[in-house]
């Protein structure tokens, strides 16, 4: 069995840390493999934790157990085929994965989606955010030992998935976004139904705020646990709610909407100064609520018109390079697309949010207890597909 260099380095670092602890306390350390098969990693993430009793001395995440090579696969597919692949990256908010890639391709082709398509895109983008984050809100409870909230999350997420399915035909992998617009228009009666779902989602947020976030044990477990100061968050490249929970006022939806219509609606970017696990939960809860308001406003102002611009039947993207990043449910997701004028991209680099978010683990997990490892992992909120791609 070969030992990778990373494992070697982790071992040396842990041994050095061990030596320090042993000199002080005369105790023997223990290496604990959290994962790859562990319920808290909801996937196959492995964390090599060097323990002193229940205290973590050093933690090293090992990723790549689910590497599927989407960047390479994209090179041997045509542009319309790529979306089928990439909506499997973050499988909980799959439509949101397609959007930045399509926007990058549109930028290269210099086509612009008609206004109605851009608005529906934004609506579906926010619906994927709801489908994704609502599950986090319940799952955090399971990680902390409260069994009930996750079932409420699944119950209410179902309504959102139904709405996505009604438009796209797919609950998990819509494959609906096209270069130059969308495949179809909204079905009849969808707008009114969606308004009802938004009310349900807001009730769900209220329910969880009462049930879980207001719980004293929940606060005791999350407040002050896994504090990430803003400068550390920036230096590790944290994005999305994780960065905003550290007090960084950065949201791509507001700062660089590129093609999505967020500047047409009145909304707020939520930040929290604390940077601990509680702040990360709080920010996501507020964002879920904010997303329902965004969707409602977008439904109000939905313009009429076609949903598809004039694009050739066989799509050839002119040579060039483009990078488009959007604020996906997990954080900033960007596609760097290099085209040589062929049917498919020459190279696609995917910047996914969870990969950067999880890189802060060795820093933030020094000196915490084993239960806090789970709290921090849960509150950083990653999707394995988004880490390994």
């Amino acid at each position: 069995m070969s030992v990778t260099e990373r494992e070697q380095r982790a071992f040396i670092a842990a041994a050095a840390a061990d030596a320090r602890v042993n000199v002080e306390l005369e105790t023997e350390g223990m290496t604990l493999n959290i994962g790859p098969q562990h319920p808290a990693t909801h996937g196959t993430l492995r964390i090599i934790a060097r323990l002193d009793g229940e205290q973590v001395v050093a933690a090293e995440p090992v990723m790549g157990y689910m590497h599927r090579g989407y960047e390479k696969l994209a090179e041997v597919r045509t542009y319309p085929q790529v979306t089928t692949l990439i909506n499997r990256i973050d499988w909980l908010g799959s439509f949101a994965n397609e959007v930045p890639f399509i926007l990058a391709a549109e930028q290269l082709m210099e086509v612009e989606a008609p206004p109605r398509a851009a608005w529906i895109r934004t609506i579906l983008f926010e619906l994927s955010r709801l489908a994704n984050i609502s599950l986090f809100l319940g799952d955090m409870g399971v990680q902390l030992g409260a069994l009930t909230p996750v079932f409420f999350a699944f119950r209410d997420r179902e309504f959102v998935l139904n709405q996505i399915e009604a438009v796209t035909g797919g609950r998990f992998h819509p494959n609906f976004d096209r270069i130059g617009g969308l495949k179809d228009d909204l079905p009849a009666g969808w707008i009114e139904e969606t308004r009802g779902v938004m009310v349900k989602m807001r009730n769900f947020c209220d329910e969880l705020e009462d049930l879980l976030m207001g719980n004293e044990i929940f606060e005791a477990r999350t407040r002050g646990v896994g504090v990430i100061p803003p400068e550390i968050a920036l230096s590790f490249g944290l994005s999305g709610a994780n960065a905003r929970a550290s007090g960084i006022d950065w949201d791509m939806r507001r700062d660089n909407p590129c093609g999505l219509v967020y500047d047409e609606v009145d909304w707020k970017v939520w930040t929290h100064p604390d940077g601990d696990s509680f702040a990360r939960y709080w920010v996501r809860l507020q964002e879920t609520r904010e997303a329902t308001h965004i969707v409602e406003q977008l439904l109000d102002g939905l313009p009429a018109g076609p949903v598809m611009a004039k694009v050739p039947v066989i799509i050839k993207v002119p040579a060039g390079e483009a990078y488009v990043a959007t604020e996906n449910p997990l954080g900033v997701m960007g596609y760097y697309v290099v085209s040589k004028g062929d049917l498919g991209p020459f190279r696609v680099k995917i910047r996914s949010a969870s990969f950067n978010n999880i890189s802060v683990v060795p820093w933030v997990m020094r000196g915490v207890f084993v239960p806090d490892v789970i709290t921090i992992l849960a509150s950083l909120y990653f999707i394995l597909g988004d880490i390994d791609r």
């Binding site: 604990l32 030992g145 409260a146 069994l147 009930t148 477990r221 239960p371």
Partner: protein
């Protein structure tokens, strides 16, 4: 006085009957609690139906599960301490069986009415710690070891508030005999009004609350389930167990919950007594079990309600709660009870 169940079989037959009763009660109790609370109440709280296929409304689901467990391979981890590993679930289960020995369900309907019944119950309850430690150590698994150590620390810390909370009742009743505690509540009076007796929950409500919290910790249920914490240490000391050995742990968990709910209803809710009837009546040997069952289910509902509602505390927070809140409160309760007992 009508003599019900007033037959005197030979000693060996008596012993056999008693053994049979205890051996039947534990699995039945585990089945009932598992079905009513773990499967149905939890499901309804989580807006789902739970098992619906095996038997009417899924009533036979746990039997089906039990048969499934018995069919499974009995796996020993390669580096496990074989004897310790094999014996651990038995030790835990024996502690549960012993608990039922002193639990009275009628004036004479008790397997063995010991003078120091409460003392015996609390003593054998802590036997399970040894089994849990054995399981944690014998599994040769780091998660199991952590679970075992957490369980040991937790059970020892919560043994104290459990005993101290019961002492208030003992002071008030003036006896350690569980049946006499029931009688003391049945014949008690509230300011000279004796219509409903004097269930000690009215005077010992602090003790009742502390007792329930400590029981929750003894049973390693949320919010005190760190020893098994599925999302952290993947089942803790149970992680390496399969088949019927796992079934033993399951039965012990729910059987003990049933027994502790029984002890709580004896100590605080008046046991098998129903207000308005003569506590000396032999009829209580017949209706006592049903009365006890209702009271036990009521207390269990509380216990399992907590289980499905709360997140889990951290290990250090749990110890802080025990030593800084529960034990001082229990001691204060004892002092107040003692002073009032002497003064009134």
């Amino acid at each position: 006085m009508i003599e019900i169940l007033a037959f005197e079989p030979a000693y060996w037959l008596q012993t056999l009957i008693k053994l049979g009763v205890v051996a039947l009660v534990v699995p039945t109790a585990a089945l009932i609690l598992g079905y009513v609370f773990l499967m149905k109440m939890m499901s309804f709280m989580q807006s789902r139906l739970g098992p619906m296929e095996a038997g009417p409304y899924g009533t036979l689901q746990l039997l089906a599960d039990g048969v499934k467990f018995l069919q499974k391979e009995d796996i020993f981890p390669r580096r496990a301490d074989r004897y310790v590993f094999a014996l651990a679930p038995v030790v835990v289960l024996v502690s549960t069986f012993l608990l039922f020995v002193v639990l009275p369900v009628g004036p004479d309907a008790v397997v063995s009415g010991l003078d120091a019944g409460l003392f015996f119950a609390l003593a054998v309850a802590s036997l399970s710690v040894i089994g849990v430690l054995m399981a944690g150590w014998g599994s040769a698994n780091k998660y199991a070891l952590m679970g075992g150590m957490r369980a040991a620390g937790q059970l020892i810390a919560y043994e104290l508030p459990l005993v101290l909370a019961a002492i208030g009742v003992v002071i008030q009743a003036g006896t350690l005999d569980l049946n006499k505690i029931v009688l003391a509540q049945a014949t008690g009076e509230i300011f000279g009004w004796g219509a409903i007796g004097n269930p000690y929950i009215l005077t010992q409500f602090v003790g009742f609350a502390i007792f329930l919290v400590a029981v929750q910790a003894e049973l390693t249920q949320p919010p005190f389930d760190m020893p098994v914490a599925e999302s952290e240490i993947v089942g803790g000391y149970q992680v390496e167990y399969t088949g019927f050995r796992f079934l033993f742990f399951f039965m012990a968990e729910f059987g003990t919950a049933f027994a502790f709910a029984g002890i709580a209803s004896v100590l605080f809710l008046g046991g098998w007594y129903v207000p308005g009837l003569d506590p000396a009546s032999g009829w209580f040997n017949l209706i006592g079990p049903f009365v006890m069952f209702i009271k036990i289910m009521a207390v269990s509902a509380l216990i399992f309600w907590f289980r499905f509602t709360f997140p889990r505390l951290r290990e250090d927070q749990l110890q802080k709660l025990a030593w800084k809140v529960l034990i001082p409160a229990a001691l204060l309760n004892i002092v107040v009870t003692g002073v009032l007992k002497v003064a009134v």
